[in-house]
Amino acid sequence: MNENLQHRIRARLLKLAHFVALFIAMAIICVPGLWVVLNSFRPTVDIMAKPPVWIPRGLNLDNYRAMFGAVGEGGVPVLQYFTNSLIISVTSTFIAILVGMAGGYAFARYRFKGKAAIFIGLMLTRAVPGVSLSLPLFIVMAKTGLIDTHMGLILVYVALNVPFTIWLIDGFFRQVPIDLAEAAEIDGCTRWQAFWKVEFPVARAGVASAGIFAFLTSWNEYALASQLTRSTFSKTMPVGLRDFTSEFTINWGGMCALAVLMIIPALILTFIVQKHLIAGLTFGGVKG
């Protein structure tokens, strides 16, 4: 009896410990993000208050209003940055998916000499640190006039995303039985038709997850964008964050507002396709 009780208490304690640990972990994950969101609604006086103001008061949209306001009065060309980011991310994701699909299909379906070497070679291009790449890219783009244009950044992001896209999509095409395509060809499809009508629909989840990763990478990239863009015509949002810093002070409220604006699209997109994201990471990697 006594032993039984002891056992039950131990089980309870373990359960409690598990719950507490989980709660703390989730809090650590959430608090930094939520703090940014909260501060985007607070007046600067409260952000800077000493002693700190813990209970939020006077929440308002001033930071957002100032951000969208006229340039020079604390305004930042946010809409322009947003459009730039959107154009660059969407276009480069689209192209990266097309190129990645072709490449991934080649790796999954064809045997050829030097396959492993070519594969590793493609992967290694992704491992080149952005800042080391940005120096020579800066010189090349300055010479070719691509610097400070959408086109230049799109090209760079396509190249940045292609290796990982190929890796993921290759893994997904390997899961599609080759018999499927062959059966379609016997039934009179061309290889091209067989691909679009049979193989592509089956591997669509993989393509979707590759697309999200490509989009998030382009949307969030900073090291290259900060060097290859100069004016409001091509600056993306991560670079735009710097507009809130001056030499000695940082406009935290305004910056938090832009940060929120930056997270929202990524958040929405990720939640919509969450399932694919996890599937993409695991299957693409394990079975690839």
Partner: protein, 298 residues
């Protein structure tokens, strides 16, 4: 009609090869060449002066370079190991949950959506000695009455950077390891329980081997973009105070853009590229070994 037709795989790979050659390979060849010149952005004619391996020798002899190199390796080792352990812990915690697991998984993915540059600013704000969340909390709780200079003191700044880096990347490990935990078959664990294994033993000898490939995938994915830490460090401290958090990447960026010494920066850039390649190749090899252990080799 004996016109040469390239094989289909080559045609399919061609776009990828062309774009990577144009955006990565050609600039890298250029930077390799310029690393043998005293090229300065402000003096274009210096691009045509050959000085041999002078830049490399200069880097090899530079104390700043070696301390940045050591610090980069240290940061990567510490951060990746801690992220892996915490990710494993987090995945185990979430895996035990029976109700609301989907919601927890969604929350876990939260940091993945944050741009590294945003993470940098966010933690610069949180660790701010005057208005930061950490100091405010510590002072309000009465744990300390002075402002702890998180980003001003060298060692504390390094610690803060590791925290920021971990916050942004532990999720990748946790999600992948969680997916691995789902794939662990139930039977061997039950059998081990019946045979009298302790929970630790069944974790060590059954669960862990199954999860290992997933850990290596996470490491491989992370090793592909470890240099993202550059964004975080550049924003939080920019290598300061007095170079005490200087990493290879911030050193390269400063030498190239602020001092305009492109040749020298490119020489150091090449060394950092080799460091990245070694990391990547190492983890991809581990990944392949783990895969073949599970019989999934492609």
């Amino acid at each position: 009609m004996s016109r040469f037709r390239p094989p289909a795989w080559f045609v399919l790979l061609l776009p990828a090869i062309i774009i990577l050659a144009a955006v990565v390979l050609i600039p890298l060849i250029l930077s390799f060449y310029s690393s043998f010149t005293p090229y300065k952005l402000t003096r274009p004619e210096t691009l045509y002066k050959w000085i041999g391996t002078f830049n490399y020798e200069k880097a090899m002899k530079s104390v700043h370079f070696w301390s940045a190199f050591g610090r980069t390796v240290l940061l990567l080792t510490v951060a990746l190991n801690l992220e892996m352990l915490l990710g494993l812990g987090l995945a185990l915690l979430v895996n035990k949950v029976t109700y609301g697991q989907r919601a927890l998984r969604t929350i876990m993915m939260f940091p993945m959506m944050f741009s590294p540059v945003l993470v940098g600013f966010q933690f610069k704000f949180i660790f701010n000695d005057n208005v930061g969340l950490v100091n405010n909390a510590l002072q309000s709780l009465g744990l300390t009455d002075r402002a702890i200079p998180w980003l001003v003191d060298g060692q504390l700044a390094f610690f803060s950077i590791v925290v920021a880096e971990m916050w942004s990347s532990t999720a990748v490990f946790a999600i992948l390891i969680l997916a691995g935990l789902f794939a662990v078959p139930r039977d061997p664990i039950e059998a081990a329980k019946v045979d009298g294994c302790t929970p630790w033993q069944s974790f060590r000898h059954i669960t862990l081997p199954y999860v290992m490939p997933f850990i290596y995938i996470a490491l491989a994915i992370r090793s592909l973009d470890v240099a993202r830490a550059y964004d975080i460090v550049q924003i939080m401290t920019n290598g300061g105070p007095a170079r005490r958090t200087e990493l290879l990447w911030t050193l390269i960026g400063r030498t190239g853009y602020v001092d305009a010494k492109m040749g020298y920066a490119n020489a150091m850039g090449y060394i950092s590229i080799f460091l990245a390649i070694i990391f990547t190749v190492y983890f991809f090899r581990k990944l392949n070994a783990a895969r073949s252990e599970l019989g999934m080799a492609g």
